[in-house]
């Protein structure tokens, strides 16, 4: 029978994250060679701020996917959040801003909770539950703001968009969210449980994991991340937009997949997702700089996702073969 292979990295997870960051670095370096704007601190800071919203919502999506589910409604959650912000955070008073913030987070986490309940209590498959939620939230967004408009508190928006070179408030928020999620996923029983239910719900349950509770929490986490993302976008645009979040649904899934998360559940790293989100976020920018029709980014995104899936599936097969002794 085969022996335990000594792996170059003690923790197999570290390996895949290193690969994606390596790729990101290569792309970045490549662009830096080609274009001067990639060498200016100012522009790099700009790019970072552009990519952060997708990175945050993708991290939430990653947690749901690792737990064996999927959330198609994050895009609509983002749209709804910007609309709520633009309508309830119009004035600059602390009450208005505080109240608006609370409403946004309550709404998005509430939607996440409903997703979790739909999947776990009503036993409706995640795809259907979150697709329904996406449709419902799109409708709600339109009800709140039939067209892009409203007003986001200038004070709040200015604060959120503060920048100094490479650093920014957005970056701070990204780091905070990342650290929180990292604590939850890798330094607590919650994380182990999420990976467990993503691998095999039945076995996890028989080992004492409270599957329902954990799964619902993953959807709530995705909701919160979407809410934060919505606040960032609202701050950037200074208004609300009922359809602004549409592309984030598939993009967050793509970012997770590229970052090494398996769509079957049980595998993936939140840190890898950030790199994946940055790669996607840079696509549009890169198209512009390279003078390519920016609509091609859609085609590229699709190809990127397919490529990530192929690579992942190949490496999986190789792993299986290696350990079967073939």
């Amino acid at each position: 029978m085969s022996n335990i292979r000594i792996k170059p990295f003690r923790n197999p997870k570290v390996g895949s994250v290193a690969v994606i960051y390596g790729l990101l670095l290569v792309v970045f370096a490549g662009m830096a060679v080609v274009s001067p704007s990639y060498r200016s601190i100012e522009n790099i800071g700009n790019i970072i701020v552009q990519c952060i919203p997708l990175a945050i919502v993708s991290m939430g999506q990653t947690i749901v996917i690792i737990g064996g589910g999927i959330d198609m409604s994050v895009g609509a959650m983002i749209s709804m959040s910007t609309c709520i912000a633009a309508v309830t955070m119009s004035s600059d008073s602390a009450v208005s801003v505080g109240g608006g913030l609370a409403r946004v987070l309550l709404a998005s986490s509430g939607a996440g909770l409903l997703n979790g309940l739909g999947v776990n209590s009503c036993k409706v498959p995640p795809l259907i539950t979150t697709l329904s939620m996406m449709t419902v939230l799109s409708g709600i967004s339109l009800a709140i703001l039939p067209q892009a408009g409203g007003r986001v508190s200038k004070v709040f928006a200015d604060f959120m968009m503060l920048r100094a070179g490479v650093l920014s408030v957005s970056l701070l928020i990204l780091i905070c969210v990342y650290l929180l999620l990292r604590r939850a996923m890798y330094h607590s029983g919650f994380g182990n449980a999420v990976y467990a239910i993503g691998n095999h719900q039945g076995i996890a349950a028989s080992m004492g994991v409270k599957v329902k509770r954990i799964s619902i929490l993953t959807y709530v986490a995705a909701g919160v991340c979407a809410g934060v993302t919505g606040l960032l976008l609202a701050s950037r645009m200074r208004i609300g937009d009922p359809v602004i979040g549409t592309s984030f649904g598939l993009d967050s899934i793509t970012a997770s997949a590229i970052g090494g998360t398996s769509l079957n559940g049980g595998e993936g790293q939140v840190s890898g997702t950030i790199a994946g989100a940055f790669l996607i976020g840079m696509l549009s920018n890169m198209m512009n700089i390279l003078g390519v029709n920016h609509f091609y980014q859609y085609v590229l995104k699709g190809i990127l996702l397919v490529a990530a899936m192929i690579i992942y599936s190949i490496s999986n097969t190789l792993e299986v073969k290696r350990h079967a002794g073939i």
């Binding site: 029978m1 330094h187 182990n192 076995i203």
Partner: protein, 505 residues
């Protein structure tokens, strides 16, 4: 060793739709003793243990732990009663490490709600020393071999200091050395006052390790044997009730025809090596051995489900390569799988649709199905096989196990096979229907069909087959004719003792 019973189960009855799994069963266990539970497949051992493990609730009866009556509602309650479970199939998460699996849902936290990795790792090390093996806490369980996964499960169970440890078929996938190591661990646990419930069909091992044996048969408690009295013959006589003559058809007058199936040098890397055998028209060849010794892989390769890297498969004069199920069916080769609910029947569909699915071309003309022809053929099969149902439109999900098996047979008979492979012909089939199935198989051979049977039921193997091929670790260790077959010889071959392979005229 305590003389008082720590665990007492009395008058346990458990019913499932269509079958009574347990009927008025009693079972008990003391701290510090090894109590073995034996019985044929389907005797009720798993069900009884599932009740202890909190995965099933008894319909009648009581369970007492340390004198107190308990209702074990779910795995957590079972665990808090001091019961640990090491499952037959490794019940671990393959994407987590050894340490993470051991502590899943029971993690140790340091002060600020943060996982105390150090402490958990050192506890795994302590376990290593205590039980005398080497588990790497950071190894991913998915990369471990089965023996080590089992150790992980044992560690997880033992870590919680259980009073009772259930071990379900613990040696199924272990080498001789690993079995020895396991027995040492069991001794250590025994000395530290843990009561061990040991389920196994390897009677030799039970003789070596058990203090007591309880025998179940057909869901009923047959009796117990004390240490000193435990012999294989005694266990077998209690496990079996029927003499072979009763249910297996007499095949003394059967004449064999020409070779219908010929396998030569079949090799599947990692599974089987150089398998060769043949089956003649009208003959029943049984493939036996312990679980996972390659028999099923051979059969799947023959039918084209799994690829093979070397060797030839010739059925009814046609040679087949790796893969190509449709081709084989056209060549009149059939395969009744062992998992009729999983990959056999299309449960939501009717008997008629299930029966005709593999032979639709025969009932079709110019792309359309001829309903009348189809119904006629299915009607004939239902009468021939005595399938009991309200009509051929009845949904197969609602049929009994025996009738479901007959629908599977009907499907393959409509293909008019020359060679038929039947995997576990009577799994989950009640005794009455079993007799019927054996008759059907006997009748098949009378019209010249070559039959290959796979079964884990030793007695069925001996009763049904004209010739038996025993597998061990991917090779055929013995070829035994019906009249020469004894359980002893089969068990020996199944355990790896190579016997003379018969020469044929």
């Amino acid at each position: 060793m305590n003389t008082q019973m720590y665990l007492e189960m009395e008058h346990i009855t458990k019913r499932f739709p269509g079958v009574t799994a347990l009927s008025d069963v009693q079972f008990s266990c003391r701290l510090g003793e090894v109590h073995a539970l034996v019985g044929e497949n389907g005797a009720g051992k798993s069900t009884l243990m599932n009740i202890l493990g909190g995965l099933a609730a008894p319909d009648e009866g009581t369970v007492r732990i340390d004198g107190h009556e308990v209702l074990i509602r779910d795995p957590n309650v079972s665990f808090s009663c001091g019961i640990g479970f090491v499952h037959q199939e490794s019940n671990l998460l393959t994407n987590l490490t050894v340490c993470e699996n051991i502590f899943l849902a029971r993690e140790i936290y340091s002060g600020r709600r943060k996982l105390d990795q150090e402490k958990m790792r050192s506890q795994v090390q302590e376990m290593n020393d205590r039980l005398g093996y080497h588990l790497d806490p950071d190894a991913q369980v998915g990369n471990l071999k089965l023996a080590d996964r089992q150790l992980t499960e044992i560690a997880r169970a033992v870590m919680q200091n259980p009073k009772i440890l259930i071990m379900d078929e613990p040696t199924a996938a272990l080498s001789k050395q690993e079995v020895k190591r396991l027995f040492q661990i069991i001794e250590t646990l025994k000395k530290s006052g843990v009561g061990i419930i040991y389920i196994s069909h390897r009677l030799e091992e039970i003789i070596e390790i058990a203090d007591r044996v309880t025998v179940l048969k057909d869901g009923k408690y047959v009796g117990g044997i004390q240490k000193g009295d435990i012999t294989r013959d005694k266990m077998i006589s209690m496990m079996v009730g029927r003499t072979l003559k009763d249910i297996y058809p007499d095949r003394r007058d059967v004449v064999f025809g020409e070779e219908m199936l010929k396998i030569e040098g079949l090799t599947i890397p990692g599974k089987v090596q150089g398998i060769s055998f043949f089956v003649r028209a009208g003959e029943i060849v049984g493939l036996g051995g312990l679980e996972g010794q390659g028999q099923r892989d051979v059969v799947r390769a023959v039918f084209g489900v799994e690829p093979f890297s070397a060797g030839t498969v010739t059925a009814a004069g046609v040679q087949y390569r790796s893969g190509g199920i449709a081709k084989r069916i056209r060549g009149k080769l059939g395969y009744v799988t062992d998992d009729r609910r999983g990959n056999g029947l299309i449960l939501g569909q009717s008997i008629r649709k299930n029966a005709s699915i593999a032979s639709l071309k025969a009932f079709s003309r110019a792309c359309f199905i001829q309903g009348k022809k189809e119904r006629q053929a299915v009607k004939e099969q239902m009468e021939l096989l005595q399938i009991k149902a309200s009509s051929m439109e009845q949904e197969t999900a609602t049929l009994s196990g025996g009738n479901q098996q007959k629908v599977m047979l009907a499907r393959w008979l409509l293909v008019h096979p020359k060679v038929l492979i039947i995997d576990e012909p009577t799994k989950g089939v009640d005794v009455g229907a079993r007799v019927s199935v054996y008759q059907i198989i006997n009748d098949l051979t009378k019209v010249g069909i070559a039959v290959v049977i796979l079964t884990s039921d030793m007695l069925e193997l001996m009763g049904v087959s004209d010739r038996i091929l025993m597998f061990y670790e991917g090779q055929i260790t013995a070829e035994i004719l019906h009249d020469d077959a004894t359980e002893e010889r089969l068990m020996q071959a199944a355990s790896g003792v190579v016997q003379e392979v018969k020469e044929h005229e």
